[in-house]
Amino acid sequence: MKFFDLSYFIGCFSKLMPYLPLTLMILLIAMAITIPLSAFLAWRNLQGNAAERGLIRLYIQVIRGAPFIVMLFVVYFGIPKLMLALFGIDINGWNKASYIIITMVLFQSARMSEAMRAAYLAVPRGQMEAVYSCGMTGLQGFLHVMLPQTVLVVLPNLGNLVLSSLLETAVGFSVGIIDFVGNARMVTSRDYGLHTLEIYLAVALVYWALAVLLARLFGLLEGALARRQGRTLSGRSSERKGRRAARV
């Protein structure tokens, strides 16, 4: 038996590609819900009353203390029972992908709302004082001054969280979702475990390529936003870059 079958390995990619849309769809839908939800949670955590803040902080603490796969099982087995008991709705026919989307929204919104809150607090307090003294309202100041600066601060962390979400989709096989990993398991069992290394290495490479692409995307977004706000990414000010160039 060969240690590594190269032609089999290369053949793996065409077997995996059909599952790309599923992974991207899970990620996209989950993030489309998570990002606005996190922004809402961060907002209420910063400006809500004591009850709202307490509730959100409890939520964050509980969620952050649970492993993703455990949460997925709780959601997968818990929500159908809950829906049946509370509303009499049978959701056993639901697409299994919805469970991982729900889990991901719960899991990442706690983390993301904290990243957003921290980014907002990183903007100097005096910015809002200047907003008020210039005769603008809190909302106007938020939209024109706070939000653009907050987004720039949060982007690196946001990118990290989206990336880790991509990788967490791989856990979906454990509730029977046939994605890259689920497919790899099926293929290996069909081949009597002969090419396990090849297929999982191919899966790893696909995730890696997606991760690189995603990181690059966030990098470009950050660069474009920074330029619009007169900053460069190395260091804070473009003045500093100018000085460095002058020294060279």
Partner: protein, 255 residues
Amino acid sequence: MIEVRGLRKSFGENEILKGIDVHVDTGDVVVILGPSGSGKTTLLRCINFLEKADDGVLTVGDMTLDLKSVRKKDIAAVRKRTGYVFQNYNLFINKTARENVMLGLTVGRRMPKDQAFAIATAALDRVGLSDRYDHYPSQLSGGQQQRVGIARAIALNPEVILFDEPTSALDPELIGEVLQVMKDLAEDGMTMLVVTHEMGFARDVASHVIFMDDGVIVEEGTPKDIFNHPQHERTRQFLRRILKGEAGEFGGSGI
């Protein structure tokens, strides 16, 4: 033009302002002096509602407000009539110099862009920054940033500008350019209420000087009264200490 009566403010148990009366007439330059912690900055912040005063009456033009119970509408109206220059400039980091000056006009007052553009350009010209319209705050020196801060205040055409230690965060060699701009403004008849440690500015530009210590006004009068004939021991002590420091360190900075 602007008047404060019986202003009181505490932070917790600590009473910072113990009943302050200030009167500024149109065209006046009133300078507030005093040691750190005497409440000068808090006084200014209360006038612009950056802090909420506990008690007192504020009159701006024909508006008289009881500071215990102000409405949002009144706060907005007072801020519309007053400009504010911060110790650490507080320029909008994500905006160019000109955008900093325009924002209060286009967003705050819904002025058409081209009109705001013209006003902002003129305001920056007035503070000597005709070559820095499109620079971001991070690309400007402290003195230039503070001059943008002043341009931002005057562009809104306020009836009075409040200056909160405008030169305290600046390197000594940059203080002069900011003081010169302020002096020019005063000569143009701008009404100003200035908290500063710059004795030269107080002596040469102020029409009225207030000396504060420990939350009360100890003494006030013309610059001549305060600098040449201080009545109170605390005023004398303060002036001795500051003037000695200035002579020793900078050979008398300012103008």
